[in-house]
């Protein structure tokens, strides 16, 4: 049987702001057989989405296909006229976008957008298209398949929209569907439903697919073959099982290693006898809006959370988006003053609001945010960014400050020459190191890490986690590590607290993760974390009622 897709020596170029031409895709070749699902995996900037879009003969603003051929069903997409390409889009090749919420027209009913494909290409009568859409909704296990299409996009949840966009892609009966990171924006418990629905429909209809993702574990569940990309070039191509068990290319090995962060043997020392907690929270309530008569804010995000953190140990706080974990970090830092409850540092009560705390109290607890892009002032040099806390907390100036800045950069393993630059000139990993160095400049006891690895590529994130551990050994810090990602939390934390809907529902030492007597939600959450095992998704058993009750989709 011939290949459905044959990409040969594909080159895509782009024009930068300064008018310089750069190559994004530098000669990529691979094939896709009919009915086969091929994953394109790589970090941000590896060109995976760009390649996928060329399968529709499409290049985003500022980019252009500059060489090679992209044959789909024998026709070279790069040679077709715009009109011929339009005829192929939606009928032979279809697209499932990363953010379905943005890709649905807010002013049209969902069903109209789904059947529009059929209308554009004149595939079938409208009534038939509608019936087919409902059938697809059912196949993708959407709730209320008969009526869900009558809603507007903003009336449907993210997980459902993602499946609806798959229905939109499938209605034209394409031979090839492109999935562009379709589950990246979803919570893990929701991701499973969506992945399952995709997989079932694709297998049943024997449709070929291109699955673009940065997540090896997700790809392992759905892809037959994996193409590993980096910097616009193919590193390795192989069957999923082979890539996972016997990676040939060093970069693939690096990716795999980063996926299993070393839960290192030298676990934290047993807590000293009757250690006094460094940080203690007692019934902290925090939220937004005016206080109601019962003293709680109008929108309560954190509901009576109590925690304690002992010296030299790390506490992980895990939960899905909207569970209140980031708000908790802000409450501790005093940025969002709790409406009630106590925060104790080394046994002494801290004022709730940052502005009421002394400089010394502020210095002891530093916070590091998820996105270094917004956490570092783009208009200042790295030296200025690191110099400010030195001057503010320690009164350091001139040569002394300079020496300390050099030491801080050494600590976070950045070259000293970097301090002349501004944040936009650094890579994501470098920025996050500067972000960390700024917190270290204060000489704190505790660092609150709010999703600090979530925006980073796996390999880079793993390096940051290693750095955190090293710094802890050298400086005797404690971390409160907030994340949605269980493996990351496991890699660094001694204690793990699980949050759900603003409450701390359970806390356990790391060694007890996976025990039988967890809270139902904890079990669901832990079980939903994808594993590299290709059989994981198929063998996973879930109680649909429990899922529906707990996962807020």
């Amino acid at each position: 049987m011939g290949n459905l897709v044959e990409i040969r020596d594909l080159k895509v170029g782009a024009t930068t702001d300064a008018g310089r031409r750069v190559d994004i895709i530098k000669g990529v070749s691979f094939d896709i057989a009919p009915g086969e699902i091929v994953a394109l995996i790589g970090e941000s900037g590896s060109g995976k989405t760009t390649i996928a879009l060329t399968l529709m003969g499409y290049a985003r603003m500022g980019c252009a296909i500059q060489g090679g051929s992209v044959r789909v069903g024998g026709r070279d997409m790069t040679q077709l006229s715009e009109k011929e390409r339009a005829a192929v889009r939606g009928t032979e090749v279809a697209y499932v976008p990363q953010s379905a919420a943005a890709a649905f027209n807010p002013a049209m009913r969902i069903i109209d957008q789904v059947v529009e494909v059929s209308r554009i290409h004149g595939l079938m009568p409208d009534a038939q298209a509608r019936a087919r859409a409902v059938e697809l909704f059912r196949a993708l296990s959407l709730p209320n398949p008969d009526t869900i299409g009558d809603r507007y996009p903003h009336q449907v949840s993210g997980g459902q929209l993602q499946r609806l966009s798959a229905a939109m892609a499938l209605i034209g009966d394409p031979k090839l569907v492109i999935f562009d990171e379709p589950t990246t924006a979803l919570d893990v418990t929701t991701q499973i439903e969506v992945l399952r629905a995709f997989k079932a429909v694709m297998k049943e209809r024997r449709i070929a697919g291109v699955y673009v993702s940065h997540d090896l574990a997700v790809v392992a569940q759905i892809a037959d073959r994996i193409v590993v990309l980096r910097g616009g070039e193919v590193q390795e191509i192989g069957a999923t099982a082979d890539i996972l068990s016997a990676p040939a290319h060093p970069y693939t090995r690096e990716l795999l290693a980063a996926f299993r962060p070393s839960v290192d043997a030298q676990a934290a020392p047993a807590p000293a006898a009757v250690a006094q907690p460094v940080l203690e929270l007692r019934d902290v309530v925090a939220g937004y809006g005016a206080l109601k008569s019962d003293g709680a804010p109008t929108i309560t995000i954190v509901k009576a959370v109590s925690l304690s953190l002992e010296a030299g140990r790390n506490l992980g706080v895990i939960g899905e988006s909207g569970c209140g974990k980031s708000t908790l970090a802000r409450a501790i830092a005093g940025i969002l003053p709790p409406s009630s409850g106590d925060i104790l540092f080394e046994g002494k009560s801290l004022p709730r609001a940052a502005k009421d705390r002394t400089r010394e109290q502020l210095r002891q607890i530093q916070i590091v945010f998820q996105s270094a892009d917004t956490a570092l002032n783009p208009a200042k040099s790295i030296a200025e960014i690191l110099g400010r806390p030195l001057a503010f907390y320690h009164g350091l100036k001139g040569r002394e400050a300079q020496a300390r800045i050099d030491r801080l950069l050494d600590m976070v393993r950045l070259p000293r020459a970097l301090q002349e630059r501004r944040p936009p000139e650094l890579s994501g990993g470098q920025k996050q190191r500067v972000n960390l160095a700024r917190a270290l400049a204060a000489d704190p006891r505790i660092i609150l890490c709010d999703e600090i690895t979530s925006a980073l590529d796996t390999v880079v994130a793993a390096a940051i986690i290693d750095l955190l551990k090293e710094l802890q050994r050298e400086l005797g810090l404690c971390y409160v590590f907030i994340s949605h990602d269980l493996p990351t939390v496991q890699a660094i934390c001694d204690e793990i607290a699980v949050m759900y809907a603003g409450e701390k529902i359970e806390q356990m030492p790391r060694s007890r993760v996976g025990a039988r007597d967890h809270h139902a939600y904890t079990k669901l959450l832990f079980a939903s974390v994808p594993k590299l095992d290709p059989q994981w998704l198929d063998s996973l058993e879930r109680n649909p009622e429990l899922v529906a009750a707990l996962a807020r989709r």
Partner: protein
């Protein structure tokens, strides 16, 4: 339509009322509290101290400013606009026919320029980066960057001096035929249309480009939709709110333009009345004209805001 949307709209209307209050206070302050004794000005040569004192008392000028403000406001609200200093006529009588004339001019200009401006703005957005788009962008920048009187004088030079199609500066009061009417209105309307169209084209183009850059328009393209379909079904319906908003905002530029245009073409509208009133310092007349202008302006920007609220599809149903 749900109650949340109505509360947003209601809030916007409340803001408008509050704004009107601040505006009227500002207008009152600028004209009635600052130096220059009105009584002396009015009496001119006959300003003996007794006469001034008598007139001051008669005009309640000795009352506290706040009281005068409230009295003036109450008068405005009940339709009593006061008497003109210059000829002792009722301000309302003076303004009435003039306002009608100005509204006629504005109405004709709107009818004429809105369709053209919308078509050009949308076309420029669709053909972004083309020669047409760039030429239009340059032209609109040029028109926006020059004073209204320059547009007017250029029109006169072109149509009256060089082409000799239309009369130059005189405004014929007697329109005996349709052709005369056309000739009378042509010059002011052309000038005003240029001024507001430039704004409208720019705003329409910007609103349209914003929707053309959204992921759902890219999605439509990836569904194989034709360019026409993309524009008509996906971009336009979502850009409609911002575009109507842009139209309402652009119409507010009519006010600035009308002041210059009525003066230069000697058109008997309310703006000309007001400019003349300023040179004679006829304060009641100025105050009333100013309030009418502000009211219209406020009405337009409030309508623009309300449209922006109502057109948000996420707030619908």
């Amino acid at each position: 339509m749900n109650s949340f949307v109505w509360s947003l709209v209601g809030g916007r209307v409340l803001v408008a009322v509050f704004t009107l209050l601040v505006v009227s206070f500002t207008v009152f302050c600028a004209t009635a509290i600052l130096p220059g004794d009105v009584a002396e000005v009015l009496l001119g040569q006959a300003a003996t101290p007794e006469a001034v004192a008598g007139l001051r008392a008669a005009m309640h000028l000795n009352d506290p400013a706040l009281l005068r403000f409230v009295r003036w406001l109450a008068g405005l609200a009940s339709g009593d606009l006061g008497k003109s200093y210059a000829n002792n006529m009722q301000v309302a009588q003076l303004i009435g026919p003039r306002l009608l004339n100005s509204l006629k001019l504005a109405g004709i200009t709107t009818l004429f320029s809105v369709p053209i401006a919308l078509a050009l703005g949308i076309a420029a957005a669709i053909l972004r980066g083309s020669v047409f788009d760039r030429a239009l962008t340059f032209l609109t920048i040029a028109v926006i960057s020059v004073p209204e009187f320059m547009v007017a004088t250029t029109a006169v030079l072109l149509f009256a001096v060089h082409l000799k199609w239309l009369p130059a500066l005189s405004f014929a009061r007697e329109a005996t035929s349709f052709w005369d009417l056309l000739r009378i209105y042509a010059m002011p309307v052309i000038t005003l249309a240029f001024v507001i169209s430039a704004q409208m084209i720019r705003m329409t183009r910007a609103a349209m480009i914003e929707t053309l850059d959204t992921p759902y328009v890219e999605m439509a393209r990836l569904k194989g939709a034709s360019p026409t379909r993309i524009v008509l079904r996906h971009a336009l319906p979502n850009a409609l709110g911002p575009i109507v908003n842009a139209v309402a905002l652009s119409l507010s530029y009519l006010l600035g333009g009308v002041i210059i245009v009525e003066t230069i073409f000697n058109y008997p509208g309310i703006a000309k009345l007001m400019v003349d009133a300023v040179s004679t310092r006829d304060l009641p007349l100025i105050q009333s004209c100013a309030m009418i202008f502000c009211l219209v302006y406020l009405l337009l920007i409030t309508v623009a805001d309300v449209i922006a609220i109502l057109s948000n599809p996420r707030l619908r149903r």
